[in-house]
Symmetry: D2
Subunit: 347 residues, 4 copies
């Protein structure tokens, strides 16, 4: 790798009990030198946006290193020269070199960006490109104003808590994932699901080493506050403000009338074990990516990560959140009148 970095970027960490509203401010001690651009693959609109942003960065900040993933270099390397690439077997380079990251695409794109940083994550600014974006504070049309503020000014950061997940065989040995001796990091959620298995799974849950419950269900979600508006919401969970440090446990289609979602404190470790009574396996997913097929008595351990995602926000005090749950999720929409003036079809 030909990347010239003069210093390690600051590491953003989070402890239990940290007050982590959107009050954090990003201010650079030295101007940022290296930016990672993560883009949704094979999408015309995103491709155009990528090309435009690279051109603009090159003209305004010619000294800035632009890093992309190998697949992006392949897709666009002929059109754009001088892109830096970090190879798959050298992922630590991401954490070591990137000063901040830009994502272009949908919510999935920022989830993917999160997956590139198994430890500390640099500030990330996310632009929406037309699709639903709960995690995307900025429309692409504003990219210049927004990037100037990120690079030169000071912007509010929302620290979005992540979860770490470790997978174990029934004898207690750790399962390596992608050859990595590292916990997986989730921005939204860790999910166990019966998948294509037609039968219910049985999952033994314990917290802090103590038996909590047996889930006989399609599956189970452990979600961050950020993930409360993702799968957990679909499964019936509450909406949790990103500043409420907690682990949200939501069952997926449980065979029980009384399995209400529960919020656990961030200092507890949740262990989910596929019961030996379960009729089939359970698929483990991290932010929607399948990572492992759990056999009987194998288990995952989930806990709060000390490495949050610092997301560049439009507003302070979490005002974006209020707007998002109202406008994007259509939370608490009231019933309104069908007959406005004249909108009724004649008989």
């Amino acid at each position: 790798n030909d990347l010239d970095t003069n210093r390690p970027p600051a590491e953003v960490r989070q402890k239990i009990g940290d007050e982590y509203s959107a009050e954090h401010l990003l201010r650079w001690s030295q101007p940022p030198r290296t930016v990672l651009i993560v883009k949704k693959p094979n999408d015309e609109r995103t491709r155009a946006a990528f090309l435009e942003i690279v051109r603009w960065l090159r003209s305004e900040y010619p000294y800035m290193n632009i890093v992309v993933e190998p697949a992006v270099a392949e897709e666009l390397g002929e059109e754009v020269s001088g892109l830096h690439v970090i190879s798959k077997d050298n992922m630590v380079e991401y954490s070591r070199t990137i000063d901040f990251a830009i994502t272009l695409g949908g919510d999935g794109t920022i989830l993917h960006a999160s997956s590139l940083f198994p430890r500390a994550v640099p500030p990330i600014i996310s632009f929406s490109l037309g699709t639903l974006g709960f995690l995307l504070p900025f429309g692409f049309q504003d990219y210049q104003t927004a990037l100037i503020k990120v690079i030169e000014g000071s912007v509010p950061l929302l620290l979005r808590m992540r979860l770490t997940c470790a997978i174990f065989r029934n004898d207690g040995r750790r399962v390596m994932y992608d050859g990595l001796d590292q916990d997986l990091q989730a921005m939204n959620d860790i999910t166990l699901h019966r998948g294509h298995n037609p039968h219910l799974t049985v999952i033994d849950c314990s917290v802090g080493g103590e038996f909590l419950t047996d889930a006989v269900a399609d599956g189970l979600i452990v979600s961050t506050p950020t993930g409360s508006t993702a799968y957990s919401l679909s499964a019936g969970g509450p909406i949790v403000h990103p500043a409420v440090q907690s682990l949200l446990l939501t069952p997926i289609c449980p065979r029980s009338l009384s399995f209400r979602p529960a919020l656990l404190p961030p200092y507890l470790t949740v262990r989910l074990r596929l019961s030996k009574n379960s009729r089939g396996t359970a698929q483990v997913s991290v932010d929607g990516r399948d990572v492992y097929l759990l056999g009987k008595e194998e288990y995952v351990e989930v806990r709060m990560s000390q490495f949050p995602i610092p997301c560049v926000s439009r507003t302070r005090h979490g005002k974006d959140w209020v707007r998002d749950i109202n406008q994007t999720l259509k939370w608490n929409q009231s019933f309104t009148n069908r007959h406005g003036d004249g909108d009724s079809e004649p008989w």
Copy 2:
């Protein structure tokens, strides 16, 4: 009463197992002679609509008797002469004389119209006047076309099932309501609620003479399919198509994790008794009107009424219903993109 009627109007009845989609057609053997107009009180817009409709009826159908409630005669009798009035102590006259009814107002207005007919109900056509109207298929602007079709042509009728409710003291004696020896009729629902009582009510429920459950709750709703989109919906109940003959039992804030709403068949009688363990009374409401304060061991009996409300519909096959749950209730609204073109505020 000075009303000249030459024959009893047809009685619309409903039996258990009747197939009662919107397939019923209203066709007169003799033209209708007597119309009841029910209006929301003290509302400027409704008042204007009332005056306009009366003027129009008089010019188009001069032979038509126009009946109103005493309060309406008082409110508007000076402006409009020749209105017929049925007095409060002669309510049977409504069923005896009215050929069809018009309601002007909101959902509450048609509920009120229903309350005037303790037995068979004539066809009712309901016009919305600007407010939310789930039960109101017609906008006022269409009144002429609609009324001509009702009076001269043939229109689809949706038979909306009602409930009857009888109230009993702890010794089994019937409670008379308004001096009437008649069951109350509900178009939406019969509700028991703790009301201003700060403490939970305890209600013993039985169906068909057999113990069903004890509700420790704010209250309990027995609803018609029509009422499934009223209070029951707010309390978490499902949406029931008006053609599904059933009684919907929905708890209001129960002290239980497992009190799922339940649908009962129309041939069962539901008995709700205030338990002797209840710390307070329970308010009985019929379609939102308070009718009795239930003491310990007093009870109500609810069953399907044989007297449905024949509602004039815009469409056959219940197409209105599909439109209503989508447009009025905003059922299954999908999450949509916040960033349309240009709707994002610059930073």
Copy 3:
């Protein structure tokens, strides 16, 4: 097949609007001659029960033909001689010859029995063998009394409504299932589910030929009243008494805050089409059996079947139902005191 039947068994059919409480009574015009025994495979307890029941039937009703499925004949044919077998490619024989059926196992066993009868179903009596049984009114210990009543006396029948399901390609051609030119019959439910596909499915729903809604979700269930306590319940649906003729539509983990379950009348046909916007396929299951993988713009049509399952009941008036939802489902369990006398562990 060596089965000697002198007459076709009576066909039990159901029409829309049929009043179908548990009021139906089974009475034979001629004594039943042929019984089908369906058993859960590879279960020690069921095997013993099967052997006992065959021995008893042979001694009490020596003229009775005992029919089993090929797999059962294989499993137990050496131990028991004289069992009649109906081969897989001659399934119509089931409907043609069986006078009544016995199931030994769990709820899955009666679902399996249902699948053997693509058209009219004979009366079925189901015995539970230790596992959860919502559809199983009888404990095995009572089998003699129960069978004597079925064969010689008169027993209440509960007609459990079924659904039919037909599958179509995007060009409208019917998909044959198992080479059968017959609709599939469901006693519980027809389900579309993303299965192992990590992405949400998009399903266009219409009823009676009219657009109803777009489900962006893990899946969608169309359930019978019987199935309301199966998958639909887990997904948040209401409990529906078996005598409420209706189709229950329940979403599985929808990306919407407002997708409340809905009950449709039995005369409507529900069409579920995999949208061309869906990112993946959808698995179609009938009573939990995977039957087809739906591609884009392929669809299923679900409607009420005219062939219900006549289930032998313990009680009339659906009393079993009240017991089942209370004892088996633990419906509306109240919160009770933790501290009985002395059950608190000392500190």
Copy 4:
């Protein structure tokens, strides 16, 4: 007041972001000298327990001042002499003098004890007397062991967060409550409810000064984590572990399909204003006690209190909580088999 106290008791306060698991330990620098006993009135069993505990305290800790409320002194003063009383118009004396408190009764009794301490609260140990007790870790039979540990040893304390609530007229003036110039403190919840008013309330909600939503509903609950298992649970809210610092907003029967409960961070102030469009008043309740009837445009402000309730726990690490949600609330009860051996009634 004749109470002899040589020093102010330690004040337990809580800040936003405090890690407040059950890790706090109570250890006295000087032995406690003054105990408050709060008892449920007019209950035979509680009365006996009170007498027994007083007798025991007198013999074991003769120097201990025993304080009661005026009503208790009246009820039992003849039987027990030497009880200290704090009069209603001198409530600050409670905070000034009490070293620790004992409650005898149900959950309501500890809620009542909380209401006596408008500011800092001393450690409270709660004994259950036969009724449901989610907030009651100790059975009465263990009182001696438990009290010895509280007075002489060291016991785990669970700091249960409280809310403060201030009420304002439409012109912004504070409403005094009970003549007190003090915010109300809630251990469970602050509720607005339509009460005996038959019509829906309309409540404008804002958080941190920004519009959040309009609740058209029976009411609205702002609850502590402790209160998540009280009214909020009945209204459909999630279960929140007491160590998750947050404000839980749960609607009561909202006229909306999409009003999912939401968790807000502890640094936000929630303002609930009765809309001028509301058809009626709204009853404000604090922990179930009615405190004010809100008129149009009047409002309440709710925020996290700095004065938690230090509850003596049986176990560390919140193990009681796991037991309580399982045993008391019957969380996630699985469906079990009805037919045990022989429990089936013969036909």
